[in-house]
């Protein structure tokens, strides 16, 4: 527990700085967009309805989905204008959060400006103020407290929603939450929630001070709130200014422990080579490959069967070696992506059951499962049920389950334990298979391809000696036992390690340290 808290604090300067930078930029961009819109909508009733309706509509999109939508949107936009736009990381997060922050400012802006006493407006007209002078000298000062209340709401929303930028590759306080959720590290989850709540509260209080100052025309309050915000933001973002002279590498990771550990292991090797490395964690299978092909990340570990079916769209299942060779050739030719080599272990999708349950039902292979399936519930990870592998298994063995449910990988094992699910899409390198006393069902018809873990490098780093030097010693050197051990140390309920500790232990175990 104390160890975890210490580990969490060590990451705080970087996560907090990124979180503040992102929220602040998004809020400022949102204000720059929404204030003129609010003025326009307040002046013109025909504009008012569509603008407010659109802002409300954006608000109904779940924050995570809005962030995710900007990935394909930016890719499409990039190809439209013939320029590569960064589709992961800061830009999509900034745009999504800025959009998200607009509604309260728009709504309060319109309310505040249209709420100005008509007599006051007539007096301004009668004195000979131009519409712009009326806006700046009369309408905005009078609407300021109401607008500021909207800014407060927007700030709290933005700071909260910024935690969702982690899956699109922008580090934030959400990194605690997402990685904590994957590795069942509840200390991290709570730490992330707490930190973002404290940040939101602090921003809210300081903005509240400004709001009160505006309402009471008290310059001291406004000044105190403003100084508090500036100083707080500057302190939080100061760690980002620490100048990094070393070459920077970004290592991608999907959303489970093994990926976190391997990304950290590669990053660790790079740092030994004198480079700086940063992880982008929690990326989906399809997003992560496109991010690599686009150069948003420099390297990551994927699995041959996944690439074969999802990226190349192949339905045939060649031998392990033939698949690797074909992948190496095809990925290079089509995407310029380099397959450095296989790490030496496989992480296959394998349907797993509790050993005693399988024994009782007499199920040893996928073929045995077919007659029992209509009485059983299948639990898949978040992508399994929509992947071609599942379609292939289902076709080959004629499996029809009573129900099919998706879980976050961590909760999938819990569901099996608690009996909510009878069969799950386990990962063969997962330490929990042995620890939880599970059996994986054999695939006699060969419906599932091989899933050798392979290291991929982006086109722009294809000839990068430092990266290749860091990765090559790992090729063929990670046996499945070592990987399972590392995974289990992170996934187990007691004496949990952080992925960083597990990576260090793994490096030691395979002798590359």
């Amino acid at each position: 527990m104390g160890e975890q808290v210490k580990a969490a604090f060590a990451l705080l300067p970087s996560y907090l700085g990124q979180h503040v930078l992102l929220s602040l930029s998004a809020l400022v961009l949102g204000l720059v967009l929404s204030l003129p819109l609010a003025v326009w909508a307040a002046r013109d009733a025909r504009v008012r309805w569509p603008v407010l309706a659109l802002a409300s509509l954006i608000q109904t999109i779940p924050g995570l989905a809005l962030l995710a939508l900007f990935y394909p949107l930016l890719l499409a936009l990039g190809s439209l204008i013939g320029q590569k736009l960064p589709a992961l990381g800061f830009l999509p997060s900034l745009l999504a959060l800025a959009l998200y922050s607009m509604l309260p400012v728009l709504r309060n802006g319109v309310t505040g400006i249209t709420g100005v006493d008509p007599a006051v407006r007539e007096a301004a007209d009668g004195l000979g103020m131009t519409p712009a002078q009326t806006l700046w000298r009369v309408e905005l000062p009078l609407a300021a407290p109401v607008i500021m209340a909207g800014v407060r709401t927007a700030a709290v929303w933005t700071i909260g929603a910024a935690t969702l930028s982690t899956p699109v590759g922008q580090p934030s306080l959400g990194n605690y939450i997402f990685s904590g959720l994957q590795t069942e590290n509840w200390v991290f989850v709570l730490f992330g929630c707490g930190a973002s709540a404290v940040l939101a509260l602090a921003a809210d209080q300081l903005l509240g001070l400004i709001e009160g100052g505006l309402a009471r025309r008290d310059r001291r309050r406004i000044l105190a709130g403003g100084i508090g915000l500036v100083v707080g933001a500057a302190l939080a973002m100061a760690p980002l200014l620490v100048h990094e002279n070393r070459p920077r590498y970004v290592i991608g990771a999907k959303n489970f422990s093994e990926q976190f550990i391997l990304a950290d292991l590669i990053g660790r090797r790079l740092e030994e080579q004198g480079a700086a490395a940063q992880s982008r964690e929690g990326l989906g299978s399809a997003v992560i490959f496109r991010a690599l092909a686009a150069g948003d990340i420099d390297a990551y570990v994927d699995y041959s069967g996944t690439l074969w079916t999802n990226v190349l769209g192949r339905r045939d299942i060649p031998s392990r070696q033939a698949m690797l060779e074909a992948l190496t050739k095809e990925l290079k030719a089509r995407y310029g992506v380099t397959v450095v080599g296989a790490l030496g272990f496989e992480n296959a999708y394998a349907l797993a059951m509790k050993a005693d349950r399988a024994q009782a039902l007499g199920v040893h292979t996928l073929a045995d499962l077919a007659p029992a399936a209509p009485g059983l519930t299948l639990g898949g990870d978040l992508e399994f049920l929509s992947r071609p592998e599942w379609a292939a298994i289902r076709r080959a063995y004629g499996l029809n389950f009573k129900a099919e449910r998706s879980y976050n990988p961590t909760f999938m094992y819990q569901a099996l334990k608690s009996g909510e699910a009878d069969v799950i899409s386990a990962f063969s390198s997962d330490g929990r298979i042995a620890a939880d006393n599970l059996v994986t069902l054999a695939d006699p018809k060969g419906a599932v391809p091989a899933y050798d873990a392979v290291v991929l490098v982006s086109p722009k780093r294809a000839g990068d000696r430092r990266l290749l030097a860091a990765v090559r010693p790992l090729i063929g050197h990670i046996p499945v036992d070592a990987m399972r051990q590392a995974n289990l140390s992170v996934d187990r309920d007691r004496d949990k390690s952080t992925p960083q500790d597990a990576a260090a232990a793994l490096a030691k175990a395979i002798g590359v340290q």
């Binding site: 006493d117 007599a119 007539e122 007096a123 009668g126 103020m129």
Partner: protein
């Protein structure tokens, strides 16, 4: 009659795409230094007529000229900076102090800061408010004090013309009388040309030196108060102008009948 300062030449204004008329052929010629009251019932077009002078309302037909120059050819804000405007709603800026309210006009005219501040105090004296109210907010003042500030604000940039729309309408009778008399004195002292809209005939005849009676967007009568009070061939005008006299007679009768009981 002195040279006309404000001329309204066959002003017409319609609403609802020509179905309803606010003004029909209103022609007035107002002399420099005159105090004109526009009277009539609600909807008679008196406020609309007043607002065509400072372009808060644009007429559809006809021309308004000030000093021989068509107001249509001058930008509205520019024009209005040279004309004082006081109305029943007062419309003091609640976020500014009384002093800052009065200084609004001079600020728009680009006066220097110290000159503006001095002017605010000077105007408080003029409208008989203590200088100490300069630092208060409008909300802290009574209705009568607020309209005095409204008056001061309208006069601050030194206009030669004052347009007033029911300026004392929302005040109690005592304050109303007092402020009316105070304004009448200012009008003379500053050599202003005043156009005041009111539905109170008594106020009109006591303050103005000329009364214009309007009905249905037309001018029914335009004469000195004394002449109109003596009678008029138009029954509407005669009825309206008889109200102060009828009231006075009833009051006199009431007083003759001695103490009631």
């Amino acid at each position: 009659m002195a040279d006309p300062l404000i001329e309204l030449d066959q002003i017409g204004k319609s609403f609802d795409g020509g179905r309803a008329f606010a003004l029909r052929d209103v022609t007035l010629s107002l002399a420099q230094g005159s105090f004109t009251a526009l009277v009539g019932q609600s909807g008679s077009g008196k406020t609309t007529t007043l607002k065509t002078i400072n372009r808060l309302v644009e007429p559809d037909r006809g021309e308004v000229r000030i000093g021989g120059r068509a107001v249509r050819d001058q930008p509205g804000p520019q024009l209005r900076r040279g004309i004082g405007y006081v109305f029943q709603g007062i419309g003091l800026f609640p976020h500014l102090t009384v002093g800052e309210n009065i200084a609004a006009g001079p600020r728009l005219a680009g006066w220097a800061k110290d000159r503006t501040a001095a002017r605010s105090l000077e105007l408080l004296d003029l409208v008989a408010l203590p200088r100490a109210v300069a630092d208060r907010r409008p909300a802290e003042l009574s209705g009568g004090q607020q309209q005095r500030v409204g008056l001061a604000r309208a006069l601050a940039a030194g206009p030669k013309i004052m347009l007033m729309d029911e300026p004392f309408g929302a005040l109690d009778p005592v304050t109303r009388l007092e402020l009316g008399d105070a304004y009448r004195a200012l009008h003379q002292r500053l050599g202003l040309t005043t156009v005041m809209v009111t539905h109170d005939v008594q106020e009109a005849v006591l303050l103005a030196d000329r009364v214009v009676v309007m009905k249905g967007g037309r001018v029914l009568a335009d004469d000195a108060p004394r002449n109109l009070l003596a009678g008029h061939p138009d029954p509407d005008v005669a009825a309206l102008m008889s109200t102060p006299r009828v009231q006075a007679e009833r009051v006199a009768e009431l007083m003759r009948s001695g103490p009631g009981g």
